[in-house]
Structures are given as C-alpha cells and as structure tokens.
Symmetry: C2
C-alpha cells in the first residue's frame, strides 16, 4: 500500500478522516505509524494529498488530510476483455487498476465458457476491493468502472458505440499488419480489445471490425490473457504518453 485511498464517507469533519477498517490495521501494524507521521493519501476519483496521523489505537486511526487542488487525469485507456477464466481474472483486477484503465468491459465470446461468469470474482464487493488494492499500490485514485456483459452480439450492436463514441478502437490480432506506434490518437480515448485464449471467431472479428475496431500486431508470441493485458496496457500507455 503506497497510498491510503479515502472515500468521502471517511470524512467526519472537513479535513478529518477516521478509519477503522483494513486501512487502519495497515497504518498501525505495517506502517507502524505514530501520531505526527505523514502518509500519502488520495480521495477516491479525486486528488492526491497528505494525511497526518492525529491518533492511533488498535481499531481507529484519525488523519488530518490536505488534498491537492488538481485531480490527476483519468486514464485514457478502456478495455474490452473477453472474460478469462475466473482464476486469471482474480489476479488481473489489481493489475488493471494499477496500470490505469478507465472502464473495463468483460464480455462473452464464443470461446469463453459460460460458467466463467458464475463466480464471486465478478461480484462488485470482490472486484472493487481488488481494484482499490491496485490503486493504492500504484498511487492512483480513479476507480475503473466495470461492466459485465454475458451476450456478445447485443453488447456490440447496441451498447458499444454509445459507451465509446469517439474512441480509437484497437484490437490485438496476429493478422494485424500495423503496430501500435503506427496509429495517431490525438486527444481521443483508446479502447483496447483483448480476445479469449482461443481467439475471437471469424464472426466476432467481423463484428468488431464493422464497429470500428482496427487490427494491430504484437509479434508472433501467443500470450496468456493476463500477460497480454499487462503487456498491451503498458505498451499502449507508453505510446500514448510519449509517442
């Protein structure tokens, strides 16, 4: 935990946050913070800042908080991900939040087993805790928005254009001849699509391309979903910020 992420409901008075959950335990037992200690804080979907420990006991920590005026920019990348096996998705949440993603859409595809969706890993309480873990690791405040869509076709036909109206839509595919560096995005958001382990079907690829997705190649290596997600998001962020 490289930052303590605060919720508006943690504030009893303006500038005074009172914590009595896992974060309090972390401040006491891991950081061993005594009164006077200054910690990095952030407000959920808001700005970063400093929190001075006012008091600590076993259950409760009081922090005097000063937040910066400027809110860090929201991540410019969104992710359309064919739902991976729950075990893989469980590990991915924190990494996605740490790397910075605005919105995560988990979608069914032909080569996604239906039972992948029957998992506690897709319950908001579960994934929000993991996402917040990732934000606290990376010192970011923007909680990714999560959408779960168990039907591919209605999502692509009815929702995709509404949710991502002006995005540059990119799809990693072995057939892609262009590379990430070949695209110009200007100020547009980027929506990155990552398929299932077995790949999208020809029909799905056609649908995605009809709805604006452009193919790009990433070399010949076939990567596991989690490796591909982390690798592509990192490469894309570097290209977006310093292309």
């Amino acid at each position: 935990m490289n930052m303590i992420l605060l919720h508006p409901s943690d504030f009893h008075d303006p500038g005074l946050a009172v914590l009595s959950d896992e974060r309090a335990r972390h401040i006491c037992q891991v950081l061993k913070a005594a009164p006077g200690k200054v910690l990095r804080i952030g407000l959920l979907n808001g700005s970063l800042g400093k929190g001075t420990v006012l008091s600590v006991d076993q259950q409760t920590v009081c922090l005097q908080c000063v937040l910066e005026e400027q809110v860090p920019p929201k991540p410019k990348i969104d992710l359309l991900l064919a739902m991976p096996r729950p075990k893989v998705m469980k590990r991915l949440w924190a990494q996605l939040a740490a790397l910075g993603v605005g919105r995560i859409v988990l979608v069914k595809a032909d080569k996604v087993e239906r039972f992948y969706f029957d998992t506690h890993v897709l319950e908001p309480d579960f994934y929000n805790a993991r996402l917040i873990e990732g934000l606290q690791q990376a010192r970011c405040t923007h909680l990714p928005e999560v959408l779960v869509r168990k039907r591919f076709k209605p999502f692509i036909e009815d929702e995709l254009d509404v949710l991502f109206p002006n995005a540059l839509k990119l799809l990693a595919d072995p057939a892609g001849e262009r590379r990430l560096g070949d695209f110009s995005w200007g100020e547009r958001r980027v929506l990155l699509a990552i398929g299932p382990e077995g790949g999208w079907t020809a029909y799905e690829l056609e649908q995605l391309q009809e709805h604006g997705f452009e193919l790009f190649g990433m070399g010949e290596r076939i990567l596991r979903t989690d490796t591909a997600c982390v690798g592509l998001l990192s490469t894309l962020a570097e290209a977006l910020n310093h292309g």
Copy 2:
C-alpha cells in the same frame, strides 16, 4: 500448450520423437490427437516445425518430425531482477519465458529479504518446468538461462561486465528523465534492471550507474514487481522490434 517442445533426447531415430511424459498426456487427453494429426513442435533452443502423430496410446506418443531450417532469433533482452518474494517469482517464470528473455539474473539487494532465496522456486527442476511451460504457450524455443546471485556487490563488480559486455543497460527509475523510446540500441542486446519493491538503495543505484546502467522513467505509477516485469519487457520488445 500451443507447441510441443522437444529435447534432443526425445529423438530415437532422426525425425522420430517418442514422448511418454506430461506432453504425451497432453497430446492424448487435451488435444485428443489421433494418428495423422499434425501438431506444432519446436526443438529446445532450435527451430520450429511440424510433428505428425504416428501412434498414440495411454503412455506413449510417436511423432514424425519435420523441423524448419532456420532457427528463430534469440530474444534480444536480458533481465537483471532483484529477487522478488518466492510467491511472485513462482508466477513470473512462465511469463518471462513467454515474453522472451535471453538470460535472467536474480540478484540480492538491500531490500530483498535473505530468506527469499530459500525456496524451491529457485531449484532448476522447478523453474525449467515453468520456463518450458511459457515457451510452449508462446511458441518459442529459446530456454532462458538463469543465474542466481545472493550477493549484490561481487556480482556487479566481478561478473556484470563479463556477462554483458556490449549490452545497452537500462534501469527503470522514477528519477529517469529519458523514456524507453529515447535510446538507440542498434544491434546491441539490452539488459533491463528491475529493482525490489522498496527500490534500490542509493548505494546500489550508484553502483549500477557506475557499471553503465542508464536510467529511464516509466511514469509515476508504482507497480508490483510482476506487473512491472511484464509491462517493461513488452514495451521494450515493441520498441526494439518496431522503434
């Protein structure tokens, strides 16, 4: 498993491989391959090819193998990694092999606990199995070479320059003002250094820079070792191949 990796010892006659281990089980039970089926194969540290199933029973699979003449190029990136927690390293092996690394040096650093080295995760039988799993996933044949060094100073002073004589040495550090895209590497190999979760000490940073490491920045996010490894290796591979 997107490729069956063969060892020279699997060949009884030239062109005839006989398998009776986990690979045979995979070919029977997962791929459900019958005689005549053509599988992608690769020779350890050699070329890719095709293997035609000649016979299958519960224990043994015979493959008629045809290998390509050309051996794929060896990955151009090496990794100097401060030993992470064993749990993290356990998950990293396959991903490192899948992403493509020539040589992996695991080194002690001040903020690496000594007991991290007392683990089965660093036994060759364990890590080679994981590395081969990654190669078979990514369809690559080059098995990374692994070195474990429990003392930082002797490694840096006595071995580093010998092992990596002409490499461009890069070190991810928040203080780095240059970005990956700012370096030119030509035909040189790249040695990428990734520090412990708590960072290198000032002394370690000084030593590394004295031995030719150049700093580069990757943004303000603080990433877990495994996320950082996968992200940096991907970004670097993309820059190397298409910069």
